[in-house]
Symmetry: C2
Subunit: 90 residues, 2 copies
Amino acid sequence: MPEENVVFVGKKGTMSYVLAVVTQMNQGANEVFVKARGKAISRAVDVAEIVKNKFIPNAKVDDIKIATEEISTEEGNPLKVSAIEITIKK
Amino acid sequence: MPEENVVFVGKKGTMSYVLAVVTQMNQGANEVFVKARGKAISRAVDVAEIVKNKFIPNAKVDDIKIATEEISTEEGNPLKVSAIEITIKK
């Protein structure tokens, strides 16, 4: 089961994730966490900005956290990547 | 003259910017602003995490702001890009 109120931004087009956030907010979520790792971090920032500026005018960025997470490569080796979590609230 | 205490992250290798932040802090800056736009945003997060975790243990991320900025393309057309500003403090 996907975690509630979380949109994990990956390699799809930006608008897919914008739509996911907007849908969750229109279905009653007052708070959505936009998360991303590595190169997708820039896209997560785009998602938050587009939601706020174009779709949900009363939404605002409530908090932004960054961290370093350790993931496993396909060969099973540990790899450190940066991560971001943007909290959008209305 | 470059703005004081600001490191603008672009297309160079991550460690160039890490070194720039570390140098500013070692020269007495208690606060450095790491700024980036567009795809360089992910690299700015890497820079902040590496400074904090590997070089300046008492440094912490004090604030993170995101915004939308309008720049001009080479053809002179307006283009909106996301931007980030990470405040590192010790």
